[in-house]
Structure formats: C-alpha cells, structure tokens
C-alpha cells in the first residue's frame, strides 16, 4: 500500500514536470496563432523615388476571449535587409492618435522562412471585440532592382520591384488592398492578378477578401524610373558653434549616381542638343534654413559657380550643379557651407546651453550610406550630452581650430543608411562659462603685449660684448650728454610755455582790466622760472665738464643765455603793461612796449633756430 502509493506519487510528479515543460516552451516561443483578425488592410507603396516607402494601415480586431497586448508584422528578407526606418503609430476610431507603438524584432516559431518579423506592442491591451488602427511606415533603399543593370546614354533607367500581392500575416485578413504609386506612366510589365488595375501612374491590387494566414502571391513591377538616384557614400556634416554669434555648418559630400551603370561613350552634344540622358541628373536642391548666410559651394579645385540661391521666409533653396551631368555610377565630391545666426539655434535653460540643430542631409531625396555629424562646441565646454531621436553611434574627439589651446570638444554622431525621414532636430546640451568667451581676445592681447615687451627689452638691453673698449665708453658718455641736452631742451620748452602764459594774461588784462589776476600769474611764473633755473644749473655744469659736449656746449650756453634774456624782456613787458594799467595811462602803453616787443620777437626767432640746430644733433 505504502509502496504503491509511493509509486503513484512519483509518476504523478513526473507528469507534472512534463506538463510544466510544455507550458514553459509554449510561453517562451512567441505565440503565432492568436485571436486577432485584421478586418481591414490598406497598403500603399510609394515608388516615386529611389527610396521605397510602404505605408500600411491595419484595422485590428480582437476576437478571442483573452485581451491581446501585441501583434506581429513581417517583411520579406530581401526588403528587410535594406530597411532604414520602421515607425508605427496607433489611432482610435476617427484618426485620433492614442499613443506610440513600440517595435522590436522577434523570431517566432512556425512561420514561413525568408521573412523578418517585428512585434508591435499596442499602447494598451486590446479587449475582446475591440479594434484599433495601426499605421506602420517603413522606408527602404536599394530594394529597387535595376533591370537592365547597364544602360547607354540614350536609354531609360528601368527597375523591378517585388512584393507580395497578399499581405503576409499570421492573422486572417478580411479585406485588403494594395496600391503602387509610380514616378511616370511608363511600365514595361506588371504581374496581373485578379482585380488588378493600372491607371495612369498607379497600379492597384484588390480588394481581396478573407485571405487566410500566411498566404502569399508574388507581384513584380518593371517600370521606368528616371529620378535621380543620388547616393552619398559618405556625408560629413560639421556644425561649429561660436558664442560670438554664429553656427557654421560645413557639409562634405561624396556623392554617386546609384542607378543603372552607364555604358558606351558619353556625348555632350547628344546630351545637350538632343536631350539624351534621361537617367542622368543635372542639379540638386538643398533646403537650408531661412536665415542661412555666407553660403558657398566648392570642390577640390575651387569654387563652382553653377549654383543658384532663391527662397522665401521659411527656407533658402540652394540649387547646385555638379561640374558634369551625373550618369549611373559616376561620382562627384563637393563641399557646401553656410552660417546660421546663433540666437535661433542656441538656448539657455537651467544653467546649461542647449543647441538645437537638424540631423540629416538638407538635399532632397538623397540616401546617405554613412552620415557623420560632428558638433564642434566652443573651447571650455563641459558636461556635454547629445539627445538624438533615434539610435546612433556616439563618440567624442577634439578639434583644433583658430586661437585654440586645449582644443574644442566634438560630439561625433554616426549613422548608416539615412533617409530624408531621419531629418529630425537633435539637441546637444553643455555647460559654458562666460570667461571662456574672453579667452580668445585675452590671448590676442597677450600676444601683442609680448611683442611690445620684446621691443622694450631690446631697446633697453645693452648688447655690447666689450664693456671697457674706448668706443663703448665714448658712446656711454655721449648718451649722457644727449640725455642732459634733452633735459635742457625740456626746461627751455617749459619756460617758453610760461612765457606764453604771461602773454595770455596780458591779453586777458586788456579785456577784463583785472590787475590782481595778472599779478598773481606773474608771481607764479616768477617762482617757476626760479625752479627751472635751479634744475638747469647741474645740467650745465655737467655739460661744461664733459669733453664730449665741447663742440655743442657753446650752442647750449647761447641757448640758455638767450632764454634768460627773453625771460627778462617778457617780465619787463609784463610789469610795464601792468603798471600802466594801474596808473590808468593806457594811451602810451603801445609806445612803451613797442621796443621790448621787437626784441622779444627777434629773441624768440633766434631761440627757435638754436633749438632746431640742437635738435639735429
């Protein structure tokens, strides 16, 4: 009994383990079959450029008893390999957005091979009987197969696009339709299913009803697509911020025509006169911000003048023409650059600076295989953080530019396979002190000041090797003599200004008649003269004793004597005039001083001549 019970318990427990393993396995693998039904599906494929954009609108309904949080979508591998972007939004009823749908790639079991699967998680669980509208947008590059792969100048470029006529889904699709929008009406062939219809530049498939899960029906369209297949192998965008008022954008393009290879020879005559070369493109248009200035367009050999700028209040359009028309497989590389006003792109918030610029390529419909965005921040920026709305590879480096000492921090953002939909704003926040702004002018000022200091040192330095040679000693003495003569000159000039002051006081007297002021002026002048003669004395004795000064001492002496004479005369004139004013005998002033005045002017003349002679020495 005991034994049997034991046996029974063990077999029951092993059964439990088996069941739990099965349940666990079922939970681990993503459930494929579920209670969802796609009640309406609309797929629109835009083939009007080199980028294929597929927009699917799915009306999903939950029919099972349990609420469903997520659903699966699939893209064939030959498309998914070249998928650049996958976005999804959910709307409820009448186009009211209800929130974002998160997407992650999964690998479910029991599905047809050669497909890539994505799991979309609804904003909220889908209850029984409820429905939701899911929009899925996907952009692909290089899924248009060139057929033929090589064409001559006069041929059209043709491509093939393959898809499934029925939507591949693990769910039952009640009603579905599919439409292809083509660049022009020229179609070589297309797969005809029931209910397929070709209008001018659109092919419609469907509506098809009640297509079971996993049903496919391949569809291929072979059509003419002469639109520019401009592909940038590498685009480096350098955005340099200067707090002195500019955001400089420089873009280095390495472009090629990614369409059908051109074979045979190229005839410029056929191209220009007979208009042969439909698959080539002549120009590109870059959409720049409205306030862009100092725009340039050049390549390795220099400025390219075939460009044009026009625009309005919202944007500036830069139309650029490469040096030759671009045929399939042809390459060109060029640089465009422009400046943007700082106050539209740089903001201050919570103690940090915030730069807001766009990420992608400004030229329309260019696919960028490798985009590198370098944001060069001013020297002295710290705490740098870049926020980009999609995953990119980030790194940092330093750049040395004008007037840099430690280099500018650079945020490098790298992304592969960029389509125009990636042209979104990105933010870089960093800390920057105002003192760092003054670094450049301070450097320039220091540089100039060092130059002046060098001049001063050179002028004051004594570079003579033999300090006791007679010529050197003579030079030293001569320097002393020169210095003394300069001082004497200075004193003479000072006393001459005092003379002028005295004359001025006399003029004032004739106008105002204020004798007292005049006397006060004379008194101070007298004092200054005494001081000056005191200063003059040691200089004169030095000059007299110095051998070097011998040839010019007579002149200096003469100068001093003349000055003294002049000084006396001026004082005499002054006192005479003042006296006569005091005695009110104004009539004969003129007569009295006329002689003195003559002497003064001759002395002054002689003095000036002497000063000139001494100056020349």
């Amino acid at each position: 009994m005991k034994r049997g019970g034991g046996r029974g318990a063990s077999s029951r427990s092993s059964l439990c383990i088996l069941i739990s393993i099965i349940v666990a396995a079922a939970l681990l693998s993503t459930p494929v079959a579920s209670d969802l039904v796609i009640s309406k599906l609309d797929r629109r494929v835009d083939l009007t450029s080199q980028i294929v954009r597929i927009t699917s609108t799915l009306k999903v309904k939950c029919t099972g008893p349990e609420p469903v949080p997520e659903m699966l979508v699939a893209y064939p591998d030959h498309q998914a390999k070249f998928m650049n972007l996958l976005l999804s939004t959910a709307t409820e009823g009448k186009g009211k957005p209800t929130g974002s749908v998160s997407i992650r790639p999964v690998q479910p079991n029991g599905v047809p091979p050669a497909h890539t699967w994505f799991l979309l998680t609804f904003p909220k669980q889908l209850e029984t009987g409820e429905s939701i509208i899911i929009n899925v947008f996907a952009a692909f590059t290089r899924v248009l197969q060139l057929f033929p792969e090589k064409i001559t100048q006069s041929e059209n470029q043709m491509v093939v696009f393959q898809d499934s006529g029925y939507y591949l889904s693990p769910y039952l699709v009640k009603v579905q339709s599919l439409s292809f929008k083509l660049p022009e009406g020229k179609i070589e062939s297309y797969t005809k299913l029931e209910n397929s219809k070709l209008s001018k530049n659109e092919i419609k498939y469907g509506p098809y009803e009640n297509i079971p899960a996993f049903q496919q029906s391949p569809v291929a369209i072979h059509f003419v697509n002469n639109l520019p297949f401009a592909v940038a192998k590498e685009l480096v965008r350098e955005i340099e911020v200067s707090h002195w008022g500019n955001v400089q954008v420089t873009e280095h393009y390495n472009l090629f025509h990614g369409g059908a290879q051109s074979t045979g020879e190229f005839s410029r005559l056929d191209y220009q006169a007979r208009d042969r070369g439909a698959a080539a493109f002549r120009s590109l248009v870059a959409k720049l911000p409205a306030r862009a200035h100092s725009i340039y367009y050049r390549d390795a050999i220099g400025n390219i003048s075939t460009s044009n700028i026009y625009g309005d209040n919202t944007q500036t359009l830069l139309q650029i023409e490469p040096r030759y028309p671009m045929f399939g497989g042809w390459k060109t590389s060029f640089t465009i650059g422009y400046g943007l006003p700082l106050h539209e792109y740089l903001f201050y918030s919570d103690g940090k600076r915030l730069l807001n610029v766009s990420f992608g390529c400004p030229i329309d419909d260019v696919v960028v295989e490798k985009l590198i965005v370098k944001i060069v921040l001013p020297e002295g920026s710290t705490d740098i953080f870049a926020a980009v709305p999609f995953p990119v590879q980030q790194s940092e480096e330093t750049k040395f530019s004008h007037l840099d000492m430690v280099g500018r921090p650079v945020v490098v953002l790298e992304k592969r396979n960029v389509v125009p939909e990636h042209n979104l704003p990105l933010q870089v926040s960093y800390k920057f002190s105002v003192f760092s702004l003054l670094r450049e002018p301070l450097m320039l000022i220091t540089g100039f000041f060092l130059l002046f200091v060098a001049c001063i040192t050179y002028m004051n330095a004594d570079l003579t090797i033999s300090k006791y040679s007679p010529s050197y000693l003579a030079k030293l003495q001569w320097d002393e003599v020169q210095a003394a003569i300069q001082q004497v000159q200075n004193i003479i000039y000072r006393s001459l200004t005092i003379h002028d002051k005295l004359e001025g006081s006399l003029r004032d007297l004739s106008r105002t008649g204020d004798v007292q002021v005049c006397k006060a002026v004379r008194k101070t002048a007298d004092g200054s003269f005494k001081e000056l003669s005191k200063e003059l004395k040691p200089l004169l004795t030095f000059l007299q004793s110095s051998a070097q000064a011998l040839p010019i001492f007579s002149k200096v002496d003469d100068l001093v004597a003349k000055e003294r004479d002049l000084q006396e005369k001026v004082m005499l004139k002054h006192s005479t005039v003042v006296d006569s004013y005091e005695k009110k005998s104004g009539r004969d002033i003129e007569n009295k001083i006329i002689l003195i005045q003559q002497k003064i002017s001759t002395l002054r003349k002689e003095l000036d001549e002497l000063l000139d002679i001494i100056d020349e020495i």
Binding site: W244, S294, S401, P441, I445, G447, F448, F449, V453, C455
Partner: protein, 76 residues
C-alpha cells in the same frame, strides 16, 4: 524649463565698425610707442610709460584684430 535664446555679447553688425576703430586707435598708440622708443634717449626713458603705452596699444589691437576676424567670417 524655459528656453532663452543666446545671442552674441556684441551685435554681429557692429563687428566691422568696431574692428576699424579699435585697430585705428591701436595703431596710433603703437605708432606713438615706437616714436617714443626711437626719439627718447636711453636715460630719459621711463619704463612705466613704455609699459602703459604698450598695454593700451595691445588691448586695442587685440580686440580690434578679434573683431576683424569675426567681421571677416572667421568665427573663433
């Protein structure tokens, strides 16, 4: 979180005028410095005067050349 646009400390349109005037003043002061160096004799020269003239000249030349760079599109 409020965003306040950041502009340059000096309006961008003033740069050419500032460059011309500050360089002119700087060059005049430089000229006076060199005239002083060349004409005054070694003994009469005053170091303080030389240094102040040099400093004033270098401030004007420094800012002048900065504004010249900015006005010509070299945003340092």
């Amino acid at each position: 979180m409020s965003l306040k646009p950041i502009s340059s400390p000096v309006p961008v349109v003033w740069y050419p005028t500032l460059a011309v005037f500050m360089l002119a003043i700087g060059l005049i002061v430089t000229a006076s410095f060199f005239i002083y160096e060349a004409t005054s004799s070694k003994r009469n020269r005053s170091l303080a005067k030389e240094l102040t003239t040099g400093a004033v000249a270098s401030v004007f030349l420094g800012f002048g050349s900065l504004f010249l760079l900015l006005a010509s599109g070299v945003y340092v």
